[in-house]
């Protein structure tokens, strides 16, 4: 379970998050939507402490992340995979090396075990034939699928997706969403920040609508998309659907 309580995040004088509390239960898929600049990504980055909240607490299972030093946080991050908008594959490592690096270095897996696991995952995302390529030979969609496989190679309990399809050409969005969806169906606990409303409707157990640093609505996708309770959400949906 991931639980955030009263998270506030300021960048200098700019208040990006103003008291955000949310609980994500085991096996739940939470999709966070909202206009640009509403604090969605910052909120996500506060969960694994890529951003340290100005105040408030982040609990990952029994670990109080906000009370930990960086070394302790790093340990908990093994359980929380993250996928970024711009992939951030390691450009000097091949696809396979990208996948086996952290499991070997951090979890101490043997190379054989790490490679076996990595090949399984690459097969699952349909990119086993690219394992010896360097990332810059891949398309955006392929890069993102590798990035997802890289995160999964650590066998995390949770996955965070930060606008995973926003940097992709339109024709590559589906291949990435399909991978995320099959992951959702496998029971992975996930928080997904996205602008893909159709996808949100399909995979979400819970849709969270953020605006101006606050959570305005948190509801099932059926209720949220057909009958949003706040005016701001109605307005937002009208504009994008």
């Amino acid at each position: 379970m991931i639980k955030t309580e009263h998270i506030v995040k300021n960048f200098g004088n700019i208040k990006v998050l103003k008291d955000v509390s949310l609980q994500i239960n085991q096996g739940e898929v939470v999709v966070v939507i909202g206009p640009s600049g509403s604090g969605k990504s910052t909120f996500l980055r506060c969960i694994n402490l890529l951003e340290r909240p100005t105040s408030g607490t982040v609990m990952v299972d029994e670990h109080n992340m906000t009370a930990m030093n960086l070394k302790q946080v790093t340990k908990v991050r093994e359980k929380v995979g993250m996928v970024f908008q711009h992939f951030y594959l390691f450009p000097h490592k091949t696809v396979l090396e990208n996948l086996i690096y952290a499991p070997m270095k951090v979890k101490g897996l043997s190379k054989d075990d790490a490679v076996k696991k990595a090949e399984e995952l690459l097969n699952k995302v349909g990119l086993l034939d690219k394992k010896d390529q360097y990332p810059n030979k891949l398309s955006g969609g392929q890069k993102q699928r590798v990035a997802i496989a890289r995160a999964l190679a650590m066998e995390p309990d949770y996955m965070l997706f930060d606008e995973p399809t926003s940097a992709l050409d339109p024709e590559m969005v589906k291949e990435v969403l399909d991978v995320i969806q099959s992951l959702a169906e496998s029971g992975m606990t996930m928080i997904i920040v996205t602008h893909e409303m159709g996808f949100a409707k399909q995979v979400a157990d819970k849709v969270v609508f953020m605006d101006d640093g606050r959570i305005l609505e948190s509801n099932t996708p059926e209720t949220f998309f057909s009958n949003p309770s706040t005016e701001r959400a109605q307005d937002f949906l009208e504009k994008i659907l």
Partner: protein, 225 residues
């Protein structure tokens, strides 16, 4: 012209002596480069660190070594400090390598720092999100990318070291420059021995430049589309 040719004929037996000085020169440059690289890496990590003490130390170090003449530093290390500490005779070559290395570390740290800063911030985040700690992240993820970016600058630094190593002739190390002076004095004839050393320096620098370009192209392989 005739005089010049006869000059070369005269010093001919000593030419191999001068040319072989290049090995001393290169040995000193290489030793100093290794020290400079290790030291420069540590200093650059201090410079990007949040710890004020480390930060201040690295900045002060760089400021001092870049703010004083290398030939002065050499004299200080070889003549002044051993006298002050009552060390007696010290090994000139060792002092030369260490001093050049300490000096080069200051320059190298700036090069490496700029290389680290040029690595996408997302690379730090991706490694951090995977649970990779600071040292392995730096060693395996950040520095390899940083060094690739700054390879031309590092090769330049090595070439500079090769040329600057001529200064250690002032503390009695018989590298190539010193050897050309010794031969000059022996025959009381300056041009031929100096020209030999001059051309040899240039040849070696050209070779190093060529090797640098080659390495750069090889490392650039993962960048090709």
């Amino acid at each position: 012209m005739e005089q010049l040719i006869s000059g070369f004929k005269q010093i001919a037996p000593s030419i191999p002596y001068i040319i072989n000085g290049i090995w001393v020169t290169l040995g000193i440059a290489l030793g100093a480069a290794i020290i400079g690289f290790v030291l420069g890496t540590l200093l650059s990590l201090c410079k990007i660190s949040n710890v004020k003490l480390l930060n201040g130390f690295a900045r002060g170090y760089t400021s001092i070594f870049r703010g004083t003449p290398l030939i002065m530093q050499l004299a200080l290390a070889y003549f002044a400090i051993p006298q002050l500490l009552g060390l007696g005779d010290v090994n000139a070559t060792a002092v030369a390598i260490i001093t050049l290395g300490l000096n080069s570390g200051a320059y190298m740290s700036e090069i490496i720092r700029s290389g680290i800063n040029a690595v996408d911030k997302g690379q730090f985040e991706a490694a951090g999100a995977l649970g990779v700690g600071y040292w392995p992240m730096m060693k395996d993820i950040i520095l390899p990318q940083a060094i690739k970016n700054i390879l031309p600058a590092m090769m330049n630094e090595f070439i500079t070291l090769t040329k600057d190593s001529a200064l250690v002739s002032t503390i009695t190390v018989t590298e190539m420059m010193r050897r050309s002076q010794i031969v000059s004095a022996e025959y009381y004839m300056y041009f031929p021995p100096m020209l030999v050393a001059f051309l040899m320096y240039y040849l070696v620098v050209l070779l190093l430049t060529f090797i640098g370009g080659h390495i750069e192209r090889r490392l650039g392989r993962s960048d090709q589309n």
